[in-house]
């Protein structure tokens, strides 16, 4: 029996509807999972992997 943390406390996963998704673009890969109790969203987690970093270019100026 797998338990899922929800807005109603820990619940048996078998009582819930599970929805999963993935999103990817140039900036990130994101996966998410939702658990629904009827029409009520009771759990949503997301995991984002950052693909774009922050880049600063060091520039030296010509001496004139």
């Amino acid at each position: 029996m797998a338990l899922v943390q929800t807005t109603h406390g820990a619940m048996d996963e078998s009582l819930l509807e599970k929805k999963e998704g993935t999103f990817e673009d140039d900036n990130e890969i994101t996966t998410w999972v939702e658990y629904w109790l009827g029409s009520e969203l009771v759990h949503r987690s997301a995991h984002v992997t950052l693909k774009k970093n922050v880049l600063t270019e060091g520039i030296t100026q010509m001496i004139s």
Partner: protein, 151 residues
């Protein structure tokens, strides 16, 4: 042989360890790494390159989220490769069992040791979390994908 104008790679790496100080202040004391934190901001916020320090304005709020965000794990020293200096947190940044009902899309990394001064802003697709976990997984720590790069 020929001379080539460049910013020295060693200098870039030393910027990440506060070796150089071109001004009279601030001066650095001690030899331990600073503590860096990661705060989440609402999609309606304006966090960008002009942000100078952490602020609670438009930061996410919700169950089990502490204002100021999560501490960034820093177990790997900055490094250089080729002409690039880089650094990446050594673990994912995780917010566990939180409920964040208002859409958020930004993480501000800042230096909590140095008056919460801003370091970098990272954006991602808008998210909400319900009694769940939000994880930011770090890229590979190298000169191409490291989270902070000075090239």
């Amino acid at each position: 042989m020929a001379n080539t104008q460049a910013m020295c790679t060693s200098f870039k790496g030393e910027l990440l360890t506060a070796t150089h100080n071109f001004g009279a202040s601030p001066t650095r004391a001690g030899s331990t790494a600073d503590t860096f934190k990661a705060a989440l901001y609402l999609a309606s916020a304006t966090i960008n390159a002009s942000t100078t320090a952490y602020s609670a304005t438009n930061e996410v709020t919700g169950t089990n989220y502490t204002a100021g965000g999560a501490t960034v794990t820093n177990a790997t020293a900055p490094a250089t490769s080729g002409t690039t200096a880089y650094w990446t947190p050594s673990a994912s940044i995780t917010y566990t069992n939180v409920t964040l009902s208002t859409a958020f899309d930004t993480m501000l990394m800042y230096n909590s040791t140095q008056s919460n001064k801003a370091v970098a802003v990272y954006t991602f697709g808008s998210q909400t979390i319900t009694a769940g976990t939000f994880t930011l997984t770090m890229p590979t720590n190298d000169a191409t994908t490291g989270l902070l790069r000075l090239a």
